[in-house]
């Protein structure tokens, strides 16, 4: 019995235990740490061999005693290790990556049959669905609580407290009401937005292949339970942690987990072993790069390695998009600035000898003025609406940050197959021996076709060609077309051994029973030719001469240039020690996949938007060059092709340097696509990658924007990608980029509007406060402006459609802040303008009525309505591009302006609100003054635009379709 004691248990759901037996025994500590989370009630464990302590995160419902018992039982199950078994420091085993051989209640799963359905159902109840914690939407309470955190709310609450202390009970109540209202409003809009986001993000319907009752079935990944036997093949994203039962050339991309970019070889460990080395484990979220295998699930959901990392790092929350983070920071910074201004203001006042209480009250008004309360609501709503709009157009966004990346996209990697082509591969040319042969010539082609049918992974289902890759299916269809009786042939000469095609071995060999030359080889022409010693021509086998080789390679080049993908076929004796050799060359088969209609136009549109395109293909350079020319990838200039089957062997700096200048990567094996994406990213680009799935997972995953085609793409691709184009149309893909740009631009405009108008409020308040006591606007007025009259126009700005020219300009600089430096100057100027206009109304009021409700009313009207009208200017980032006749084209914005104007007028007609805001109804002249002041900013900006355009002469003429 191991001694385990509680050290600390104050925090629910968290325990610190003393486990003396792990002190100084890192291996045991690791094993314990790895095993504990496989228990359903334990979310995470951290064992510290240096102190002999163990930190647990567990379900709060579980008592400390139950936890102690659980830890003891796990310790008992761990193999007894003597301290001298422990490795010395510097042992290279990865931290905490050994796993118990088996977990959950089913250590006795039959690896050949898998779980029975009822057993699986029981285990599902016991362990819960296989869902990563981050997929959980934030709870309502959490969301509501969030609304009342943060500096702005704290400042408002402070303001209420100060009001209360200085006797302003009504003010305090009103402020409290505003805080509550703001919170509820935020809760509703944000809740709506979060629901939208999660609804979209959660729509992943990953399906996995598992053995249930002896039959392989496809079940949703969420239905996996410990004890299931899963089957994996290239491209599969592993859905749960599993111990390998058997593997065939299995290599796994674990970059999601470890950051290691090269696929790692996996092989099953000794099945009797209690702990399993990481090389015998498959981890959830990682992707099979090549090979096949079978695994026994040992951990699902939060109990997976990935789940643990999620839990520890993000606390089970949706990761925030960079934009949201930046907005939070911006809001915080503005609030801090206003606090500083308040402190300065109070300090000055005290020096002048004013009383503290009114001073504090004024300071709070200032603080309220400065905080852009509408910011988070506007930003979140914009993002959510954007996502929904994209979804309606068939663009499924699976990750928030993708929207921004789409908007900043600089390079789009196009996987040729499935994106640019129609995905209909057919055999279009062939050569037998050294001679080209017409596809009609059945007699000549028959030996080639027979071999193509034997050495082939595609299968016949009711006479239809299915499974495997396009190439394999095309070859099988070719054999069928020539009248080869595939089923009989395969029965007569069954496949007894396969040498798979792997990186560095661009051919596949199959050994078949019977026949003088039982080995069939199919692969890259040069490589296959290198294995050949003979050639079969006109039914006669003769030694392969140097001239024959040259003729075959020339024929290969000719077929490839059509363009077509060329494979060579050969047969020979069973492979010897050094693999196959001494083969007889049979011929070449060329296949092509037609370019989609509209692909060229799509490329043109993407180029027009300042986005580079990179074509990635496994084809030979000459084939790729023909395709690139068809698409006009080089825009009429020299075509730059990187022709390499070993990109990852290149010096990374060189590849990064080259990648940016390259139009086409040819002869790229699937697993090297990742190297291209990484190289492009290393040169500082925001990169998108399209893929059809099989083997594209790692690259899709690494790209800033991974794009899968919804109809033709495999499930695997759709699982990994963060953008899914449902209808497969390239137009939709271009649209996604336009939408991404528009969303970012809209948020940017809304933010600029809110910040500019807020600054104008600060200026007005400062001037009033300095000018004389009692002149200052009430906090309620400013709150009304920030929360009521400004939010709708902000939302209106955010709902603008992508303009017609959104795809006619280069992408924004991804490093640029949401408010670029060059905009800040204009914003400062405009906020001064709005403030000056409002102050003009203020001083007219002062002169006529002295400080009091009427003057305040005039200032309020001038300021609030001035801001509302100013929104019209904010429809363009560059005021010079404003066209007066198009100011009212954004219908939601127009409605927002009307509504906001009405809301601004409301306090004047409603006595209760009037009292709350501290204003009085205005006479005709005062009203005229205030409205004139309100329209001044808009008029001035428009006039300034005309003047600067006139001065700039013809050079800077706004373009007709301008945004």
């Amino acid at each position: 019995m191991h001694r385990v004691e509680v050290l600390h248990d104050r925090v629910p759901g968290r325990l610190r235990l003393s486990v003396p037996c792990i002190r100084g025994r890192p291996l045991l500590a690791k094993a314990l740490q790895a095993s504990l989370p496989t228990l359903p009630s334990i979310a995470a464990a951290e064992a510290r061999p240096s102190t002999g302590s163990l930190i647990l995160r567990h379900a709060p419902a579980q008592s400390a005693d139950a936890m102690l018992a659980a830890v003891r039982s796990v310790l008992d199950d761990l193999p007894e290790q003597r301290p001298d078994d422990e490795p010395s420091r510097g042992d290279r085993k990865r931290d905490g990556r050994e796993h118990r051989a088996c977990a959950g209640g089913s250590g006795n799963t039959d690896p050949e049959r898998g779980l029975a359905e009822d057993e699986a159902a029981r285990l599902l109840l016991e362990h819960g669905p296989n869902i990563l914690p981050r997929e959980r939407a934030p709870g309502s309470a959490e969301l509501l609580a969030k609304q009342f955190r943060g500096l702005p709310v704290a400042m408002l609450s402070g303001s209420a407290a100060v009001s209360l202390a200085t006797g302003g009970v009504a003010d305090a109540l009103a402020t409290a009401a505003v805080v509550a209202l703001n919170g509820v409003l935020g809760f509703i809009t944000e809740g709506e937005a979060e629901r939208t986001i999660h609804a979209l993000i959660d729509s992943s319907t990953t399906r996995v292949c598992a053995l249930r009752g002896g039959v392989p079935v496809r079940i949703p990944a969420s239905g996996l339970v410990p004890g299931d036997v899963i089957l994996v093949e290239p491209g599969t994203q592993i859905a749960a942690d599993a111990r390998l039962l058997d593997a065939e050339g299995l290599r796994v991309d674990e970059s999601t987990l470890t950051g290691e970019s090269l696929p790692i070889a996996k092989r099953p460990c000794d099945q009797a072993a209690v702990t399993v080395d990481p090389s015998g484990m498959l981890y959830a979220g990682t992707i099979i790069a090549e090979g096949r295998g079978r695994g026994l699930v040992v951990g699902t959901g939060a109990a997976t390695e990935a789940g643990r990392i999620q839990l520890l790092s993000t606390g089970a929350r949706r990761p925030q998009a960079p934009l949201e983070v930046e907005l939070d920071r911006l809001g915080g910074r503005l609030a801090l600035a206003s606090l500083a201004a308040c402190a300065l203001f109070v300090g000055l006042g005290l020096l002048r000898g004013y009383r503290l209480a009114p001073l504090l009250k004024d300071a709070m008004a200032l603080a309220v003025a400065a905080v852009p309360e509408g910011l988070p609501v506007v930003a979140t709503t914009t993002l959510a609406r954007g996502l929904r709009r994209m979804e309606r157009r068939g663009i499924l966004i699976r990750q928030m940050s993708t929207v921004e990346s789409l908007g900043a996209l600089q390079t789009m990697c196009l996987d040729k197959t499935g994106t640019v082509t129609e995905n209909r591969m057919t055999v279009t040319a062939a050569a037998v021996g050294t001679q080209a042969v017409a596809l009609r010539d059945r007699a000549a082609l028959l030996p080639l076709a027979r071999l193509a049918a034997l050495n082939n992974d595609a299968v016949l289902v009711d006479g239809a060609v299915e499974r495997s890759s396009h190439t394999e299916r095309a070859l099988l269809a070719f054999a069928l077309d020539l009248g080869v009786d595939v089923e009989t042939l395969r029965r007569r000469r069954p496949r007894v051994h396969t040498i798979e095609r792997v990186p560095g071995r661009p051919w596949m060999a199959t050994l078949h029973g019977r026949g003088a030359r039982p080995l069939a080889v199919k692969g890259a022409p040069e490589a296959v030719l290198g294995l050949c010693a003979h050639v079969l021509e006109k039914g006669r086998r003769r030694p392969l001469t140097r001239a024959d080789r040259a003729a075959i390679l020339a024929e290969n080049d000719r077929i490839a240039a059509r363009p077509a993908r060329v494979l060579a076929l050969a047969e020979g004796p069973p492979p010897g020690e050094d693999g196959p050799g001494g083969l007889t060359f049979l011929g070449l088969i060329g296949m092509s996949d037609p370019i989609r209609p509209g692909a060229r136009e799509f490329v043109r549109r993407i180029h027009q938007a300042g986005i580079e395109t990179v074509l990635i293909t496994g084809d030979q350079a000459v084939t790729a060059a023909a395709t690139a020319r068809e698409l006009d990838l080089a825009r009429g200039g020299p075509l730059r092709i990187v022709d390499s089957a070993a990109l990852s062997e290149m010096p990374p700096e060189l590849l990064a340097g080259l990648a940016g200048e390259t139009h086409v990567f040819a002869r790229v094996p699937s697993h090297e696509k990742l190297a291209i994406v990484k190289a492009l990213q290393a040169s500082g680009r925001v990169v998108a990658m399209t893929g059809d799935g099989v083997n594209d997972g790692p690259a899709l995953n690494a790209a800033d924007v991974g794009i899968a085609m919804g109809e033709s793409g495999t499930d695997l691709a759709k699982d990994v990608a963060n953008v899914v184009i449902r209808d497969d149309r390239l137009e939709t893909l271009a649209d996604a980029v336009a939408q991404g740009r528009a969303i970012y631009r809209n948020v940017q405009r809304a933010v600029e509007f809110l910040v500019t108008t807020n600054m104008s409020e600060i200026l007005v308040s400062m001037v009033e406060a300095v000018h004389g006591p009692g002149e200052l606007e009430t906090p309620m007025e400013l709150l009304w402006i920030n929360l009521v009259s400004d939010v709708l126009p902000g939302l209106g700005l955010a709902m603008a459609d992508p303009g017609p020219d959104v795809m006619d300009r280069p992408p924004r600089d991804p490093g640029q802040p949401i408010v670029p430096r060059e905009h800040a100057l204009r914003m400062g100027r405009d906020s001064a303008l709005i403030a000056a206009s409002a102050l003009a109304a203020h001083f007219v009021g002062l002169a006529r009525h002295g400080p009091g409700p009427i003057t305040r009313g005039m200032t309020f009207l001038a300021l609030a309505e001035g801001q509302v009208l100013y929104t019209l200017v904010c429809q363009r980032s560059d005021p010079r591009r404003l066209r007066p006749e198009a100011l009212l084209e954004n219908r939601p914005l127009d409605l927002a302006l009307l509504a906001s104007s009405a809301l601004t007028a409301l306090p004047f007609v409603h006595p209760g609100l009037r009292r709350l805001l501290g204003i009085a109804p205005l006479g005709r002249f005062d009203l005229a003054v205030a409205l004139a002041a309100a329209s001044t900013p808009l008029a001035t900006v428009l006039a300034r635009r005309s003047i600067s355009l006139a001065l700039a002469g013809t050079e800077a003429k706004p373009c007709e379709t301008s945004s």
């Binding site: 080049d557 000459v622 080089a634 990187v642 022709d643 390499s644 089957a645 290149m650 010096p651």
Partner: protein, 377 residues
């Protein structure tokens, strides 16, 4: 100055500069043997094991340039790692391919030099001739198991002592070798000079008339790096001395490799060589340098000038007149006479490529038309 020592350099076919020349010329071969022959200019550079190949061509390409580059490297003795080739391809309509001889005009302003002499049967200056022999011997030596550690990449220099412009002694031989397998020098590190003298230098110069004697200085350097495209950079046209006469006569700086026969600088160099060979073959002089100038847009040369360095049986002026009388130096007729457009196809798709290493003139192994004298009436 009639007495001097002159050294010439040659490199093996595996030297990156020469790999680039061969790749460029292999592309020319491929373009000229295409179903629809097209003109081209191909330039190549190699760095960090990556080949950069730039091709300007006139018609559709029906060959794989990347594969050509890799084949050249493999044939030179390097392993095929699926090596990377960076291609830069552009169609350039003026490179439209074979032009009828009567319509051919000089494409560039060109002054080319050709030379021939009686130092040996190949009518080449002794130092460069010896250097090429030595480089070839070194390539052959890699087949011996004891020397299989040699990298395909090596450089040799041969210095010859002349008296009255006649070679009289082998003054010095230098070789720069590289271990093809990192750190392995086949256990012959200490006695490398001796091994090279016995296995390579001796056989290379045997029976040439100038054999190494005890006074001949032999310097063999073994580089620390493995040599080849992974270790040092290469560029098309950086070995113009090796292509021609090894600094024995004046030479034009332009590269020959990678240019199709529409390029006057390449054609003029061959024409000048043929003129010089014709003079020496008929015995009009022991040695002869021909200077041939064309002005862009012209059919005929702007000038032909020769120098026999006082070895002529008749005056240089008379030799020149006989040359002009016997040979039409119009750019079209020269291309026609040398069959430059047709040779790649006639020789099974491989002609220019072999010029990319071991010199472009004085190559009995290639039976070059410009090494054949024209009868001077």
């Amino acid at each position: 100055m009639r007495d001097f020592v002159l050294s010439s350099e040659s490199v093996t076919a595996g030297h990156p500069d020469k790999l680039c020349d061969q790749i460029g010329d292999a592309v020319v071969d491929a373009c000229l043997t295409a179903e629809m022959p097209t003109g081209c200019v191909a330039e190549c550079a190699i760095a960090s094991g990556v080949a950069f190949l730039s091709i300007r061509h006139g018609g559709p390409l029906d060959f794989d340039p990347g594969a050509i580059a890799r084949r050249v490297m493999v044939e030179a003795g390097y392993d095929d790692h699926g090596g990377t080739v960076v291609l830069d391809i552009a169609e350039s309509p003026q490179l439209r391919g074979p032009v009828p001889p009567d319509r051919m005009r000089a494409s560039h302003m060109t002054t080319a030099f050709g030379y021939a002499c009686d130092h040996n049967a190949d009518r080449m200056p002794w130092p460069i001739w010896g250097a090429h022999r030595l480089a070839a011997a070194l390539e052959g030596a890699r087949a011996e198991p004891a020397l299989a550690w040699l990298s395909p990449d090596a450089q040799v220099q041969v210095a010859v002592r002349f008296e009255d412009r006649r070679p009289i002694a082998l003054h010095a031989v230098a070789m720069t070798l590289a271990p093809g397998v990192a750190g392995v020098a086949g256990g012959s590190g200490d006695n490398l000079d001796g091994v090279m003298r016995e296995r390579v230098i001796g056989p290379a110069f045997a029976g040439t008339g100038l054999e190494p004697d005890p006074a001949t200085r032999i310097v063999v350097r073994l580089g620390a790096h493995r040599g080849g495209p992974g270790s040092h950079a290469g560029l098309t046209g950086r070995k113009t001395g090796d292509d021609g006469y090894g600094s024995f006569c004046r030479q034009s700086g332009t590269a020959l490799s990678g240019k199709d026969p529409s390029r006057t600088d390449r054609v003029a160099a061959y024409a000048a060589r043929q003129a010089a060979v014709s003079v020496v073959a008929v015995g009009l002089a022991r040695e002869c340098e021909v200077q041939l100038s064309y002005v862009a847009g012209d059919r005929d040369p702007a000038s032909l000038e020769i120098d026999t360095f006082g070895s002529g049986r008749v005056s240089d002026r008379e030799i020149k007149e006989r040359l002009l009388a016997a040979i039409d130096f119009g750019i079209g007729p020269v291309v026609e006479r040398l069959r430059l457009w047709a040779l790649p196809r006639r020789r099974g798709g491989r002609f220019f490529r072999d010029l990319g290493a071991h010199g472009q003139v004085g190559r009995p192994d290639l039976a070059l038309p410009w090494d054949e004298p024209v009868a001077l009436g």
